[in-house]
Amino acid sequence: MDAPHNTPRPGADEAPRGPGADEAMGGLSADEALRATGVTIREAGSGDAVAGVMPRWVALPESTEEVAALMRVSAGHDLAVVPVGGGTRLHWGNPPERCDLLVDTCCLNEIPEHASGDLVVRVQAGVTMESLAETLAARGQELALDVPVGGSTVGGVLATAVAGPRRLRYGTARDLLIGITVVLADGTIARSGGKVVKNVAGYDLGKLFTGSYGTLGIITEAVFRLHPITPARRWITAGLPAPRTAATGSEGSGSPVGPGTVEGSGFPVSPRAVSVALAASQAEPSAVELDWLAPSGVLTVSALVEGVAAEGRAAAVRDLLGGTAGESGTTGESGEWPVGSYGVAEGDKAPDWWGVLPGEEVLLELRVPPSGVDGALRAVARRGLPARVRGSLASAVLQVALPPEIGGPELAAFVSGVRGDVGPLGGRLTVLAAPPEQAAPVDRWGPVGALPLMRRVKERFDPDRRMSPGRLAGGI
């Protein structure tokens, strides 16, 4: 792969040329043309690098129209553009092939409309998830996506398509998004969907832009369906004994349906069995999460029950967990939950690891059909590395953090080993974050069946490859 350039290209500051150049720009340099838009522009500093690639400028638009003006200039001057929200996950994905202009959405920070009677909110892309939550809570409502701490924005959450624990009950961002406004590479402003939840007029561009990592255009506004804030929440947390033979990876087909029995899974109590029992339970948990330090730590499972009758339902979950986790065993591996045995704890506070990514530098996402969850955990354990695994047990979407100092070849071996094991289970492994040097020998995304179609979509939306080029699978 070509190394990204990290100083301004000499050509970028010159007058536009070629057929792509906009006559109306009247021979302005890129710098002059950007400034002529009236949008606040500053020179990029070392803190603005995108996965190691330095942009030349940072723009701070305040409206969709301003974003469009920037994009028109970028089109005329062949500037590569990367959008940035809170910048918390800007290192996710491949480094961009090039980046001239960073479009910072921080000033797209308004919530133009909270129609609480309709349970709908229209929000600009740069609004942080916390401030959105605050506004909605004032009227007893919420966007039922888990709010990650620390400045992540609506646009960033959509563009990375990640979701927290409550995906089990409410789905992910794409399920709650009902309208979107985007600006394309050539400055076209386009909307789809609307302000009503039920709407099948036209294609749903919002779906296309979730998970797009800034490669199709810039999201400037979104409309979401909301939920009333639930009156009560109970977390029921239990420890499952550490796997016996996990590190040596004894093979087996996992347990049959029904809690308790595990043959050859390596886990004295099968996480898969726990997951099946909870997912099928009439207590309807909103989330069932797992936290585990592989290869040999105790597994902690925590279920969230929400709603008016949370207490009664929590009791049902407790019985289930108690029944599966049993009273046997010794003390839990850490002080994270109050256990004397592998008992069950209940309370109205989440465990401190709840909804927090298990790590930052080297982070992977492992997805399997729920029945494959024991196999997936075993696949991680077999590699013998200390790996923190966390995420939705019931949806079987798990994040895996590896030691930051892991070497490239070791990472590559981990990735291909786990892929080899979970492939037959119908699973997939994606590298969300890894420093470029370490990730160089790794295919971050793994095989994607629909890649040729995605590539064709990219070619139509961004034929000149100027939007976050190369960040996604297959160099999209």
């Binding site: 036209g202 779906k207 009758a309 997805r367 979509v457």
Partner: protein, 482 residues
């Protein structure tokens, strides 16, 4: 002629009897549920597998012949309207449920399987397929995917798009591709659902199965007028309750239902509301008491609670028969489908009343009140000169009202041929052009269900300026990479 040649070649890739050219038999496919649009298809094929569909589509490409998919033909927007110069691909021979996987809460089915058949296959195990269009006994899952169909219970559970985990499709060039919800990158699965057959043909669907709720409770509340009913709806939603369904009928719709099925709704009701709650027993019990109180506070003069499945069916009977029932009170009618923000319902209903009075056209209102999805039934006498035109006008004006109030021209029936001319009222040219970029990515030749959804087809052309490899600035020596 290209089509004749194509028919000959198609017969070679399909089983005997799977190609229909007999004019009489072709006529049975001339329309879908929207019967005033009729076109006899050039040829009908009844493939049995994805490979056969792919082979047909590849031949269509070779000859530049358009193709249209058809499931059960219950669509209400003319989406499955055939082309005289094209092939109609009917999925009626692809009706197998391939796999039921309860542990993973999913089933894999062929596109011609009916919506209800999926639920029937898993009901005894305590599961069901959540989206429940009223046409569920007949309509196919392939049609549901194409229309992103919903049902009375989509208020709480969402639409087809929220319940499909993966699709196998034949692209408009004839490739078989899987779109998986777990794939990283663009959510092509989500974009394909609701695309009305214009991005390719669904040949396999992996659906999510849901657990049958522990309890279901159904309430019928009768009000003197529709305003009171609307107020109850607002109070319930505003009170933080998300019922499985909230349906409303006005006096005219009630009268029709009484005439047709003698549903026995409370006498003198100007509006009835059906509220259904489901979920964990303790939660439902608590919320039900609250709903009863809110209905009373809003002026309900009679409340009935269904004690069991039979009584529940009795409550639903009137609502479910409403469309067909208006046939009892009017020789002809138009079923409209539009959406407004729920809080705009009182305003919009008052405007519909005015429109109705102004044009001398009766309108019966039946709607999914919880999500503001109106199904006005515009009644007219087709024997009366000019009545049909006036009804058409009223029906169109109702869509204008929906747009004015920030709603949508369709909540579940789709755009098809029927509403494409309204698309420019709801969207700008730029919006529509951008949507058609997706079309061009999937179907650059415009062969898959052309003429639907978009009023003006976009000529796709070659992808302009696609560049791979070295950047021109580098090539010209004006920049270097290191």
């Amino acid at each position: 002629m290209a089509l004749n040649e194509l028919v000959r070649r198609v017969a070679g890739v399909l089983p005997a009897g799977a190609v229909i050219t007999d004019p009489v038999r072709l006529r049975t496919y001339e329309c879908d549920g929207l019967t005033h649009h009729r076109v006899v298809p050039g040829v009908v094929v009844l493939p049995e597998s994805a490979e056969q569909i792919a082979a047909v589509v590849r031949l269509c490409n070779e000859y530049g012949v358009p193709f249209v998919a058809r499931g059960a033909g219950t669509g209400l927007s003319g989406g499955a309207l055939p082309r005289t110069d094209g092939v109609l691909i009917v999925t009626s021979k692809m009706r197998r449920i391939l796999r039921v996987d309860l542990e993973n809460r999913r089933a894999v089915v062929e596109p011609g399987v009916t919506n209800l058949a999926i639920t029937e296959a898993v009901r005894e195990h305590g599961y069901y397929y959540a989206p429940d269009p009223s046409s569920q006994q007949v309509c196919t899952i392939g049609g549901n995917v194409a229309e992103n169909s919903g049902g009375a219970h989509c208020l709480k559970y969402g639409f087809t798009v929220n319940h499909v985990l993966a699709l196998e499709i034949v692209t408009p060039d004839g490739d078989i591709v899987t779109l998986d919800a777990d794939d990283p990158g663009y959510d092509l699965l989500g974009a394909f659902v609701g695309s009305e057959g214009t991005l390719g043909i669904t040949t396999g669907v992996t659906v999510r199965l849901s657990r049958t709720p522990e309890t279901v409770t159904t309430l019928l509340a009768a009000f003197e007028n529709i305003e009171q009913g609307g107020q109850a709806v607002s109070a319930i939603i505003g009170g933080g309750i998300v019922p499985a369904a909230i349906e409303m009928m006005d006096a005219l719709a009630i009268a029709a239902a009484e005439a047709a099925v003698a549903c026995g709704y409370p006498a003198g009701a100007g509006a009835v509301l059906i509220v259904e709650l489901d979920g964990p027993e303790a939660e439902v019990a608590h919320q039900f008491a609250e709903v009863e109180r809110l209905c009373r506070d809003s002026g309900a003069f009679e409340l009935r609670t269904a004690a069991g499945p039979q009584e529940r069916a009795a409550i639903w009977k009137g609502r479910k028969s409403a469309f067909a029932a208006v046939g009892r009170i009017s020789p002809a009618y138009i079923v409209q489908d539009g959406v407004v923000p729920r809080t705009a319902l009182p305003n919009v209903l008052a405007s519909i009343d005015r429109l109705s009075a102004e044009h001398g056209i009766r309108v019966a209102n039946v709607f999914h009140a919880g999500d503001g999805n109106l199904h006005p039934l515009v009644l007219f006498d087709d024997a009366e000169p000019g009545a049909e035109e006036r009804a058409g006008l009223v029906s169109g004006r109702i869509l204008d009202l929906c747009i004015e109030h920030g709603g949508s021209i369709t909540g579940e029936h789709g755009v098809g041929v029927d509403k494409s001319r309204y698309m420019p009222k709801m969207f700008t040219d730029d919006d529509l052009d951008t949507m058609q970029l997706v079309r061009c990515a999937f179907d650059p030749r415009g062969l898959s269900n052309p003429g639907k959804v978009f009023p003006t087809p976009r000529l796709c052309g070659e992808v302009p300026g696609v560049r791979r490899g070295v950047h021109p600035l580098v090539e010209s020596g004006r920049a270097e990479q290191f």
